[in-house]
């Protein structure tokens, strides 16, 4: 049923009104000549409304003459009819399709690059690094190979610890994390103690190398050692 309706819609059909004394004969003649009709509705005396394919209209006129009935087209429907309606607005249709294609194409590209993160060097350096990897506004999303871009930047810049890329729609977010080395003695280059330069309470402490002397919540006075260099090879 669904398939049939779809076929009828794509081929196009018309709703006609048949008025006359011999509408039954009209129907029988239609069926004898293999004209497909459906949705036959009796309105009142001598009037029926029915649907048929628009290519059968010429045959219908012939039958109407024989049976002395009057045929009036009430409604046209289907793909050919809708196409016909739009044929007067060709440019409108073309432009709307063009706009849809353009929106699709534009959504495939990067239109905004945001660099976030906590780092001490100027933002332009990151921008230049990205530019050297041909990451710029207007580039195609498929051209982005994050792993190889990251690896090449890591090789060139030893002060970048980590980079994160994220695409949200047409926006590319680059997150940069700077490498911070443990403090070294300015003269010898050897590891040294970390000494507090002000009074306070430890809110957070994380030691990767060396010995932790103070814990979270400890009260510290200026000059006290926080992390000892002992234990560093």
């Amino acid at each position: 049923m669904f398939l049939q309706n779809t076929y009828r819609f794509t081929v196009g059909y018309v709703e006609i009104q048949v008025e006359g004394y011999f509408v039954e004969r009209f129907l029988n003649l239609c069926l004898n000549r293999n004209i497909e009709v459906w949705d036959i509705n009796r309105k009142y005396d001598g009037i029926i409304i029915l649907k048929l394919h628009h290519y059968d209209l010429e045959k219908i006129n012939e039958i109407a003459e024989v049976t002395k009935t009057e045929v009036k087209i009430l409604k046209k429907n289907g793909v050919p009819h809708i196409a016909n309606l739009y044929s007067k607005r060709k440019i409108f249709l073309m432009i709307s399709i063009l706009v849809m294609i353009l929106i699709y194409l534009a959504s495939q590209r990067i239109w905004q690059i945001a660099i976030i993160g906590d780092f001490s060097f100027p933002l332009e350096e990151i921008e230049n690094e990205l530019l050297m990897e041909k990451v710029k506004v207007g580039m195609h999303k498929d051209d982005l190979d994050f792993d190889s871009i990251k690896n090449r930047i890591y090789v060139r810049r030893s002060d970048i610890l980590w980079m994160g890329f994220e695409i949200n729609g047409v926006k590319l977010t680059v997150e940069v994390l700077e490498r911070t080395d443990p403090p070294k003695d300015a003269l010898t280059g050897k590891p040294c103690d970390i000494i507090s330069d002000k009074d306070g309470i430890i809110a957070k402490i994380f030691v990767r190398e060396g010995t932790k002397l103070k814990n979270v919540g400890d009260v510290v006075v200026k000059g006290e050692t926080l992390v000892s260099r002992s234990g560093i090879l």
């Binding site: 029988n28 949705d39 036959i40 009796r42």
Partner: protein
Amino acid sequence: MAKGDFREKIQKAMEIPVELLSSYPRITLLGNESVFIENYQSIVEYEKTLIRISNNVIVYGSDLNVEEITSDEMLIVGKIKSIEFE
């Protein structure tokens, strides 16, 4: 020998289903909402309240619409009251 007798004899001899050779309509009712009639020959009368087909079958009801129709089957939809044979 009448024509009907000869047909019946062939049907019985060859065990052909009755509906294939006879001119009887095959009527399928779905509640009181639709009637499916196969092997109707032609529509004799079509009103809002009754549809008479050439096998002397009359379908009575209200708001009767012929939803699908081909040269050998038809589907009548509406509120069906009765089906009569004359």
